[in-house]
Amino acid sequence: MEANKQSALPAISIFWIILFGWTWLALGCSKPSNVETAIDEQVLHFGLGAEPQHLDPHLATSVAAHNILSALLEGLVSEDPKTLKPLPGVAQKWEISDQGRQYKFSLRKNARWSNGDPLTAHDFIYSFRRILNPNLGAPYASMLYALKNAESFHQGGKSWQEAGVGVVALDEHTLVLTLKNPIPYFLELLNHYAWFPVHQPTIESFGAYEKIGTAWTKPGHFVGNGPFSLTSHQINSVIEVTKNQSYWDAETVRLQGIRFYPIEAVYTEERAYRSGFLHLTQSVSADRIDFLKEKYPDELHFEPYLGTYFYRFNVRAAPFDDVRVRQAFSLSIDRQRLVDKVLRGGQSPATTFTPPGTGGFFPAPGFAYDRAKARELLDSYLREKGLDSLPQIELTYNTSEGHKKVAEALHAMWKENLGVEIRLLNMEWKVFLSTISGGDFSLARAGWIGDYVDPHTFLQMWRSGDGLNMTGWENQSYDQALRLAETSTGTAKRWESFQRCETILAEEAPILPLYFYVHLTLRHPSVRGWSPTLLDHHPYKYVYLAKEAHP
């Protein structure tokens, strides 16, 4: 074949010309990064982690939704940016009476919706009524059970008047909430989005009072009362909020806007941060800690986070129906080593279920590391049952790099310390959920993030038959101690009861606490007014951007 060499050249050269042309074009258009322009614009670029499922505060369930809703709406109180202690929000001031059962809020007169409508006490009543409306099916309705008679209204059958829910408007600007029993952390509770108000006319015009999935939450429709208002929502791309000029405290707000990017892939988020696309990331992969620590020592932050990482035992089936086996598994874990060598993110080993210091509660350590005792317990179990070894145990966890890593580390620890080789079973999220709630597991990964800063948010889960218990573990004394804690008013008494709960948990070990969460994040030095908080709440109105200091 005597083909000449020129034959294919035109095609190739055309291709390269286009490619180079494109390159130059792209270079010509290349802009300074987000972070570089942000200081002048005062726009925060925020790694959101995931696309929020709902932007309706009464239907939302996710951290991502919280991050956006706390910009768009404001409850009766607001949070101190450092301590998360309640500060005046829509309510200018409040009075507590009847031994902490009654709260009288005075709403500020200049509180307005983003469309200019005045915000009144009736708006709150409307909102509470909506979330408690059984026909809406709000997942967080039970948050409002703190209110008197809220539960019975939510169970259905009764009208609002009949039920007599403990919420009354004395006038346009005075709202009285009556509680079922005194709750010391009630004001903190009010910062949960379930308590946020919604704009009645908007809800009504979309027929959204008891309907899921209306368009009222879309930009152009959404009417809020927070420091920012929703200007754009491109699904899987960006949610943009800009400063709400009619917000009562607009003067304090220094940011002109926030752009939330729902970047799910953690490595993509990291690249986004490193290229100046984001100011802060939602998370950081544990495997990257050493690398990032070295490269960005001042930008990688380990912040305490009110949460516990643990495993559930299924106590309904052998071998975990026997407390000795549960204890053996628990005692053979070197939590310190897990934290130091595997997680490496400054987490602390969990020797209790409630993170120490939650609301000022410091439980005594219960879960320990003792190889010898673990062996002993297991041997005694095996002897009694006449077994040579345990049946195959499966550790179920949902698909995630982090969970896998911990599971693999524990797999090795049990093999080494206990001589038990378990099988790891990784499941896709929905399958995992239905498997766990169906009780079809022996050992399953779990985690719990506090909804408010009080031991109750942790310890209530282990009440017999609680929807979150799922271990099949039931203990009368535990339930008693918990009830006592719920009805007591004095701190000392409550702490005593909670300690009792913790002790029972450690003795019975229906669960296996591993470590307390740390919020790992990359944050640009130009982000100011941002403090680490236990719930990872960061009131945006205090945040601003400033040039990095040059020491």
């Binding site: 294919a8 291709f15 309705a141 970047i263 986004a272 490193r274 290229s275 239905s434």
Partner: protein, 306 residues
């Protein structure tokens, strides 16, 4: 020609029906439901939710209802993002995937076809081995390796292109290159095989006997026959390209369709799964039709047969 189009569209109806039915029941038999979540929703609320989406009715009734809505062109709201209609979500994401797909497609063609042609012309020389070796590398490298690799070189090291996002022309370069190179590799191999096959045909010898130059033989005589198998591949490939790629979208943070294909299945977002499946099926059917029309254009025999 119009008869072909008409009969194909007629055939598409039962195809789509079978696909819709199959998918409907498959998703329903998968364990887990759209409203399972970690913060265990109270049972009564879950029932409310299910009633709201009609999931409390007998499965067959749900199916009939779904098909009825489908006939009206209503895909229903997404279960995962109930504030959005499935069709709305597809309509927002598709233009993105289309842009990415078309760009990748152009890259794939611009690299693949000349590469394959050169390799075929200079069979068993370095000009054959080099492009074919590269194309093998392109096939072997999963996009989730190639993508970060390109980012590492062109973004992290050389700072030429942004590492992610979908906001301007410069954002388009790396993802479409990542996706395009993978398909270019396939196209190059197909082109080479097709051209080799065609260059052995008797009519190529006839053309040479007429005194035609190599360039003329390649472009006028061999290209049509040699590219026919490529055209057949291009239909489904193009459908694959413009329906998005989860991997690419995840790495480059692109709001395309591919994400829905994967997350909808993960979330048990029944309506979304059905919506994406049907959308894809329609794409495939249309593109296969286009392929047939192009083939008819290229191949007079096929034109007559149809």
């Amino acid at each position: 020609m119009s008869r072909l189009i008409f009969s194909r569209l007629l055939q598409a109806i039962p195809t789509l029906w079978v696909i819709a039915t199959l998918t409907f029941f498959m998703t329903r038999f998968a364990p887990g439901g759209p409203f399972d979540s970690e913060k265990a929703i109270p049972e009564e609320i879950k029932i409310k939710l299910e009633a709201h989406f009609g999931l409390d009715r007998p499965l067959f009734e749900q199916y009939i209802l779904y098909i009825q809505n489908l006939l009206r062109g209503d895909l229903g709201p997404s279960f995962k993002y109930p504030e959005w209609e499935v069709s709305e979500l597809i309509a927002t994401a598709f233009p993105v995937s289309l842009t990415l797909g078309v760009l990748s497609f152009i890259i794939a063609l611009l690299i693949g076809i000349p590469g394959g042609m050169i390799a075929a012309l200079r069979r068993n020389t370095w000009m054959d081995y080099l492009p074919m070796g590269l194309s093998m590398a392109g096939i072997c490298l999963p996009t989730f390796v190639l993508g970060p690799l390109l980012i590492f070189v062109f973004s992290t090291q050389l700072a030429l292109f942004p590492p992610l996002g979908w906001y301007g022309a410069s954002d388009w370069v790396l993802p479409s290159l990542t996706l395009g190179l993978f398909y270019a590799a396939y196209i190059a191999r197909l082109t080479r095989a097709g051209m080799l096959e065609t260059l052995q045909q008797d009519y190529i010898r006839t053309a040479r006997a007429k005194g035609a130059s190599s360039w003329r033989i390649l472009t006028k005589h061999a290209a049509r026959g040699g590219l026919l198998p490529v055209v057949t591949f291009l239909g489904p490939a193009f459908a694959g390209l413009i329906s998005g790629s989860f991997v690419i979208e995840s790495i480059f943070f692109i709001p395309g369709l591919g994400k829905f294909f994967v997350t909808a299945a993960f979330n048990r977002d029944y309506t979304m799964v059905l919506g994406t499946v049907l959308f894809y099926a329609i794409l495939i059917i249309c593109l296969n039709l286009v392929v047939d029309l192009i083939q008819a254009l290229l191949d007079p025999k096929a034109r007559q047969a149809k």
